[in-house]
Amino acid sequence: MAVPVSVYLLFLAPTAALLVSFFFLRPYKPGWTHLPILASCAVVSGSAIDLAAKVYTGWSLDQTMGLWMAAGNWSVSFGVRIDGLSSAVLAMVAVVGALIHVYAAGYMKEDPAFPRFFLSFHLFYLSMIGMLVSNNFVQFYLFWEGVGLCSFLLIGFWTHKPAARAASLQAFVTNRVGDFAFLVAIFILLKTYGDTSFGRVFELMAYGGGPLLALVGLLLFVAAASKSAQFPLYFWLPDAMEGPTPVSALMHAATMVTAGIFLLARAWPLVAFVPGLPHLIAAVGGGTAVFAGLLACGQTDLKRILAYSTVSHLGLMALALGLGRVGIAVLHLIMHGFFKAVLFLCAGNIAHGLGKSAADISETGGLRKSMPLTMACFTAGALSLAGFWPTAGFFSKDGIIEAALEAGPGWLAMALAAAALGGFYISRMLFLAFFGPSPEQKPGRCHEAPACMAVPVGFLALAALTAGGLSHGIGALLGIGRLSSEESLALAHFSWPVFGLGTSAAVAGLGLAWFATMARPSFDWTWRRRLPWLQALVASDFGWRKVVALVASACWGLAEWIGGFLDHRTWDGLIEGSVPASVALGGTLSLKSGRLGDYLWWILTGTAVLLAAVLL
């Protein structure tokens, strides 16, 4: 099967751009580092769209490209798989990522470490692209970890900030917990089938697998939960806001957090194989969606609100997935990419306008006058997030509600709660940031973003409003070269009850937000003062952060105990102590008198012992 040039370009363009930038531009023209990278983004986007178009025509590709490692009859290969799932997500990631690149070029222009930023940024992008087109689990893992590495580098990009360092470390280590699960899953697959390519594994699954195969789905879910910030392991994502805003945008919209959901969608046959696991995923996802939505309502930092909102939406995707609606989950993933990118970039615009790296709600307000474009774009994103017809968010969120409705009232309640909460927190943010009362300082101080930042935001806002039109196309795309069952990939059909439920939830959220911010401007601050325990509860994520801190400090304490007390003092001390001990033993054994008489007595004793030994 011929591999189209576009596939090669997906890898070659970023690699070439990185090499050129690293070796030639960074040392000599650091200000130009981004140019080849932006060009590469364009090439990648073009290739991705080209591939999506090709796939739309019914073409798909699963091709082994080369041997990675081999021993005996055991081997792992490189390969690409371009099918409906990968091409749809790839197109979104490529385009949204490219736009964020453009934005970042403006946003980070002044930073002294601009080249370092851009190189890491593009590597991040490359890793995600590579992951999407992988045709086997090991290669997927390669890029999966590459994403993790870049997130480490970028979250901690401002190395001088202790919080950034801590957040990047936390992100990486937490992700490694998921990586551990992923790795174990791969080992089980290798042990069972001797192969990890998606097509082959799912094919062989029909003939059954070992008892360990049931674990694979679970382990993959753990991996996805760490990457896609599901409940027990979500905590790194809000903290990851310490990175520069474009990083957050890229991470939330395109490159990182979607990886987990994508993995589950990819490996859906494995997940569905385990009885009960889909419902577990749905429960965790729904729970996370509500949990994070509640927390998002209590945040004050613009980016943190968005971060919790991402967690909540990832939960919704997991909910859809768990209910067997992979297509809807992927659709929401794509739509979420558009509107979340716009929201983040707008938040970045605000911070940039304020001349800060992050902005708090208390510092903003009334920005509609000074930043009209940003306000417009943000509104578009917010509407999309809240799921108002006919924005992009509507199409996917309706699907989720429909899926929940079909599955049962409990699931429906979770989905609706998450939707209502989404409506609330995003409207609250919109009102407080743009419409609410200005803080003391003059709003005029704030300025609109420059063109290279505004243009991508505009495009993304447009997408957030209109991408819903693509949903049928995406639905058709997903079916091509599919590995999962047809019904799991089916999208929702419009129905009035669902429309009514979803829209009313969003409206309820919006109304409540208007009531809590515009009607009673002081409410948002006063409850924190009146109910300090509630404030504390929100700050600690309903106590979960404390649990995490406890676990971390327990691990650290264990390391201290083992490394310090057990290893160094006790065991090594024992070994080192053997030297003085043997010297002392020699001292006890020595005859200190030095008298001839004693010598003779010892000789006689020895003789007597010998005699006794011989005779007795």
Partner: protein
């Protein structure tokens, strides 16, 4: 001419010893480079021959069944490469230091002894070279190390000698056992392979070998010499110590223990493999709380060698190949890390984590490369460390899945001990009185060296097949002895 591989450096060492300070440095470089070139050239006859033992060299029979017998297979070849390469790197890394002739000579002597270990096919010859490695390393640590060098050198020698005694007794018992069975006195590894002693005597022999090789690896709980030795050794010494000398233990497992005791090593896999798992977890946990960069890397070596051993013990092609490759990988990666710490130490004479901070601004290249090597060390896919660990654990997962799972926890811990240290030193705020102000970025010589090593890390990470191909015949020759499920 395999003899040349150890004789040339030995002669070179002697020549260095008796020449002046300047000349000896040059001389050592010439000899080391020649050996390296020769070791690369050796891959030609090696690959030309289809057999497992590409090049064999055998002397006349000696006393008591001992025979001077050297041979080169893929595994040995890869380690010969590593040795000659890291010797060149070590010498180049200490090029600017003011060392006496003995320093340069010691490295050549060390190279000679290591070559002998990897080439020997006769257990007696193997043991002689095995022990001979201790002498130059003793002097390297003791003469050119840092403050605690006297103590560390003694501890290193005594501790490893302790293990060697077990190995010696095991060897004697094995040879005697073989004589009792076959009526032939032989020390030849090939002849002893498949001897397969059983019962209590066999188990005791097996245990003696495990201790003998385990001390070198170092296998928990025989590891406590390692942090001291690595920490106090000069940078070049640490490179050789971690880069090559630790591999001797795993090499002994592959070369001697597994072929000789196939059944016992399969039956006792839960015990030995369990120790390797403890190595991984315990080493990582110890590394987490170290305040000294070199100690930290040293403990990380404890963990990494656990992966090697697990792979080798799995008796699967991928496990053995992965374990073998991991030896190479660990040599390159840890060698690079110790080298860079050496560069830092050269500038500031400090090693504490708390002595540094904010190096990213002062020494961007160093930051970049150190991060690179750290990533390779924690097994990031795309880097060499991943290939070794992945293949080892994949092999172990086929043998004893539970053990692979426990070992895989090490990848979480590796991030937890490496990255905080990296952040503290290179990213974090520079504390009061820190040595950071004295740090300058890498110069051209240092950069070339680091590029070489880091390039190899990436190359092996993405394209390990050339190396795996070299290893393949040895792996294929070993695995049939095994009792794979």
């Amino acid at each position: 001419m395999l003899t040349a591989l150890w004789l040339v450096p030995a002669v070179g060492g002697a020549a260095c010893l008796f020449s002046s300070r300047k000349t000896s440095r040059l001389l050592s470089a010439v000899f080391a480079a020649a050996v390296f070139a020769y070791s690369l050239w050796l891959s030609v006859p090696y690959t030309a021959d289809a057999g497992v033992w590409g090049v064999v060299e055998s002397g006349p029979a000696w006393i008591f069944g001992i025979r001077y017998h050297l041979a080169l297979d893929g595994l040995a070849l890869s380690l010969v490469w590593l040795t000659s390469f890291l010797t060149v790197v070590s010498l180049a890394a200490s090029w600017r230091g003011s060392f006496s002739a003995g320093f340069w000579a010691s490295f050549l002597f060390l190279e000679a002894a290591l070559m002998g270990v990897f080439l020997a096919r006769d257990l007696f010859v193997f043991y002689v070279f095995w022990e001979a490695t201790l002498i130059p390393m003793f002097f390297i640590i003791g003469l050119w190390g840092s403050e605690g060098r006297r103590h560390a050198a003694m501890k290193f020698f005594l501790f490893t000698f302790f293990g060697s005694l077990f190995m010696l007794v095991g060897l004697l018992a094995l040879v005697t056992h073989e004589h009792a069975v076959s009526g032939v006195w032989t020390w030849d590894m090939g002849a002893l392979a498949g001897t397969n002693p059983q019962g209590l005597a066999g188990t005791l022999m097996f245990a003696a070998f495990v201790i003998g090789f385990g001390v070198k690896i170092p296998l928990f709980p025989m590891h406590t010499w390692l942090p001291d030795a690595h920490t106090e050794a000069p940078a070049a010494g640490s490179i050789m110590l971690a880069g090559v000398m630790l591999k001797m233990g795993v090499y002994g497992f592959i070369r001697v223990l597994l072929p000789v005791f196939p059944r016992l090593s399969w039956e006792l896999l839960p015990w030995v493999g369990g120790l390797a798992c403890v190595n991984i977890l315990y080493g990582s946990l110890c590394a987490m709380q170290q305040k000294d960069l070199k100690r930290l890397i040293a403990y990380s070596s404890v963990a990494h060698l656990g992966f090697c051993l697990l792979g080798v013990l799995s008796w699967t092609p991928e496990g053995v190949a992965g374990g073998s490759l991991q030896m190479l990988n660990h040599g390159i990666t840890t060698g690079a890390l110790f080298m860079m710490i050496g560069f830092l130490y050269e500038r500031t004479h400090r090693r504490g984590l708390a002595d540094y901070g904010e190096l990213v601004g002062r020494a961007p290249w160093l930051t970049f490369f150190f991060g690179w090597a750290i990533m390779a060390s924690i097994g990031l896919p795309g880097m060499n460390g991943f290939i070794g660990e992945f293949m080892s654990l994949a092999g172990m997962a086929r043998a004893l899945p539970f053990m692979a799972v426990v070992a895989a926890l090490g990848i979480v811990l590796s991030a937890a001990y490496s990255l905080p240290a990296y952040q503290t030193v290179f990213w974090g705020a520079s504390p009061a009185g820190s040595a950071s102000s004295k740090v300058t970025d890498l110069d051209a010589r240092e950069k070339v060296l680091v590029w070489l090593l880091c390039g190899l890390m990436l190359y092996i990470g993405l394209c390990p097949t050339p190396f795996l191909d070299v290893l393949a015949p040895s792996v294929a020759a070993l695995v049939p002895y095994g009792f794979t499920p």
